[in-house]
Amino acid sequence: MDIGQGLRKRTIELTSIATAIVIWEIAARIIDIKYILPSFTSVASAFIGLVQEGELYRDILTSLNYFVIGIGLAILVGIPIGTLMGWFKSIDRAVDPIIEMIRPIPPLAWITFAILWFGLNKYAAGFVIFIGAVFPIIINTYTGFKNTPRVLVESGNVLGCVRNIDIIYRIALPSALPSIATGIRVGMGVGWMCVVAAELFGVSTYGLGWKIWHWNDLHHMDMVLTYMFVLGMIALMIDRLFRHLVQEWWLKWQSGVVV
């Protein structure tokens, strides 16, 4: 499709964004205190500067590194736990009270222990992200398994699939995949929010979250805003990429994907 035509179709959206930017710029000029509200132009030039210096990439990679550690661990732990709880009633009854006790604790409350256990390093940050991401993954995996249609399990039974391990792997797991994908997506959202907080504690002198505080201390609010926007953009990109992967490849068999 030709880009000009694509833009024309989005006239309302583009006008809306442009208007917001203009209002922002005017407001910043009226207020005229950089510390309270940096102008759009100063943020834009700060952003361009950061891109040119290459510092931004290093910050992004640092934050993504924590994120991947946390989410990877959450997937590796969350899916098996959710599976066992969803399929075996006694495991559900044994594990559920423990989960319900730990789950309401805000992930950030774990930071002190994370540093105590892992030291002031990327694993401590990863652990906090893990705590934020693992519960949505467990719960959605659990729900997916619980909701396996009975007729599919019984179809499997009469077709020679009778052992628990076979039923789980060949029927319940694929049937639960859309729900698991939702869990991962929600978990990634929560995990990304934890990145900023986890970095506050100075596990590194790079990272998007760390830089917000760093520039805040130096009263460079245009930099703070730049990093805020980058945080948001990366979150959006991760989410879009994940949805794309799910739709095009992982859950191609679904009619209308609703993750």
């Binding site: 007729v151 599919l152 039974n157 077709l159 020679g160 694929p174 068999w253």
Partner: protein, 253 residues
């Protein structure tokens, strides 16, 4: 020979109510016989079929196939469910290969077998489609192919064509008869359509309303291929209807 002896089944609801679903069912089926079950809804037809499939345990009584007791599901019995039951994450072809995978048949071989069965139900072109891309009638065709791919001795079908339109239904009945005549399986088929029963069955078993008992068994002595509109077919339909009508009246009273 499939033999159903003294089957009783009671369901217990969570509130402690008891539903006597089946009461003292006895029936013998010859090999390669086509038997239809018909009766008011809720009379236990599905329950009986599920017991034969091994998905449900009777409270008493026994099912034997050639003298062997049924203890659970097995590949000697295929089943087509009333609701759509294809695995939505598998293509049509891979739905059919499922039981062959369980038996560890090598990939090339099982796809070969599956393709032959897909051809049997006229859906070769849809081998790589996913179930959500198929119409209701096509889904049930694939379900039939999936159920017979192992060449089971007994094929159990629970109102498989209940949800398809009349025209498609006639075609599916014809296709089913072709498969049955070709492979000569023992076929147990639940229907709520008198017309379907008379067109398909060697014998039609009429059930009473709850608790399900066998009320009457009709032998359909019509030559095959059958003519739906023949006078004899009409006579069978009428006697079946009056036998059923009494039962449906009982339910309403």
């Amino acid at each position: 020979m499939l033999s159903i002896k003294n089957i009783n089944k009671t369901y217990h609801s969570e509130e402690g109510d008891e539903v006597l679903a089946l009461s003292d069912i006895n029936l013998e089926m010859k090999d390669k016989e086509f038997v239809c079950f018909i009766g008011p809804s809720g009379c236990g037809k599905t329950t009986l079929l599920r017991i034969i499939a091994g998905l449900e345990k009777p409270d008493s009584g026994a099912i034997t196939i050639h003298g062997e007791h049924i203890k659970g599901p097995g590949l000697d019995r295929g089943m087509v469910f009333q609701e759509y039951s294809l695995f939505p994450w598998r293509t049509v072809l891979n739905n059919i290969t499922f039981s062959l995978e369980m038996k560890k048949v090598p990939k090339v071989q099982r796809e070969d077998i599956a393709r032959r069965h897909l051809e049997l139900v006229g859906l070769s072109k849809f081998a790589d489609s996913y179930p959500h891309e198929l119409s209701g009638g096509m889904k049930q065709r694939v379900a039939i192919a999936r159920a017979v791919v192992n060449d089971p001795k007994v094929l159990l079908m629970d109102e498989p064509f209940g949800a398809v339109d009349a025209q498609t239904r006639n075609r599916l009945q014809q296709e089913l008869l072709n498969i049955w005549e070709r492979d000569k399986k023992t076929l147990l088929f639940i229907t709520h359509s008198v017309d379907e029963a008379v067109y398909l069955a060697d014998r039609v078993v009429v059930f009473t309303s709850r608790p399900g008992r066998i009320k009457e068994i009709f032998k359909i002595d019509l030559p095959r291929p059958r003519d739906r509109t023949s006078i004899d077919a009409n006579r069978y339909r009428e006697s079946l209807l009056s036998s059923l009508g009494a039962e449906i009246k009982n339910v309403n009273d």
